[in-house]
Subunit: 196 residues, 2 copies
């Protein structure tokens, strides 16, 4: 294969979820693709890291420079509720539903000493500062339903110093369209405990 | 999602074999990837169409400008044998084996009137010219073992005007590590006919 094509295949196959075979097929697709698509794609890839930054308030992602994100600046949203998520994509998943109209705080991951991620590696300090000064009435801990997510929520619960705030978690139970027969033990235990 | 991130996701999901979910994950991977990787990838994508061209002799791909490809210019290769393939990736598959040391001719596809691909849409004229003037002793028709590939080989056989040339096809039969039980009828018929 010509060296520059081989190099492109290598770079593409360095991407996660893409093996060498798919990378080769993608390189050939690019070779014959519309030149304006090639231009747009390479341009967007080269700019993505400078175009996108973290919101200085909630650590969500934004393309506004030196300004809070659109959600933080939307004054029609409910300033009494703060929803804490691990990652930006969790925020996107919740926003897509259109059922939550409060604020967010993106931690940037979960507490996991096993993987070397301590609370100080996340946006915890900023969370506690916001909780202390912004007068939220409810703190929704929407961390993942796994060990790391649980540890993260527990850490937050133990370190929030505002006694008046109501701290909630997303409910646990059977997923929609699931089968009791195939549910794992913990899911079924949670579904029983959360019944009502 | 910030507009410029959304735009990148859209462009990536326009690629074949990549759905919107994978595109989103790839965009986030790029957002956090090593900046030098981002630079290399966007650079290679933007240049691929100008870097790579067809060999003027065999229509394989090359990054040499205005010169035949490395295989065509390799005088140690056997100039008596010409292997005809549909696409460049077929050539790559055969070259990888290291068992063939002759020349190639890439047609650029197969004859398929149903899909509007006629012999004149392929590099047929150039093939017949090479066969006529380069004195090949064997013409290996390595088109695909399907209807279009068969039609393409038949067309070549009927139009080669050099009576002295030996025209061969790749053998047909059971694939390695396959099971007779699961072989389709035509494969089994071919395996019987080709027995020896």
């Amino acid at each position: 294969m010509p060296e520059s094509l081989q190099k492109l295949v290598e770079l593409i196959s360095y991407l996660p979820w893409i093996g060498e075979k798919t990378a080769t097929k993608l390189a050939f697709f690019l070779l014959k693709a519309n030149p304006s698509f090639i231009r747009d794609l390479s341009d967007r890839i080269s700019r993505v890291q400078s175009d996108i930054r973290e919101c200085p308030v909630c650590f969500s992602l934004t393309d506004r420079s030196d300004r809070p994100c659109a959600i933080c600046e939307d004054h029609s949203r409910d300033g009494r509720s703060l929803c804490v998520v691990e990652d930006y994509l969790d925020l996107v998943s919740i926003e897509r539903l259109g059922i939550y109209k409060g604020r967010y705080h993106v931690l940037g991951g979960s507490v996991s000493p096993m993987h070397g991620r301590m609370p100080s590696d996340l946006h915890m300090k900023e969370l506690f500062e916001r909780v202390e000064k912004d007068g939220f009435e409810e703190l929704i801990l929407a961390t993942n339903p796994n060990i790391e997510g649980e540890a993260t929520s527990l850490y937050i619960k133990e370190n929030v110093k505002t006694p008046s705030i109501r701290i909630t978690r997303l409910s646990r139970g059977l997923p929609n369209a699931g089968f009791i027969e195939y549910a794992d033990d913990l899911t079924l235990i949670n579904a029983f405990r959360g019944r009502g």
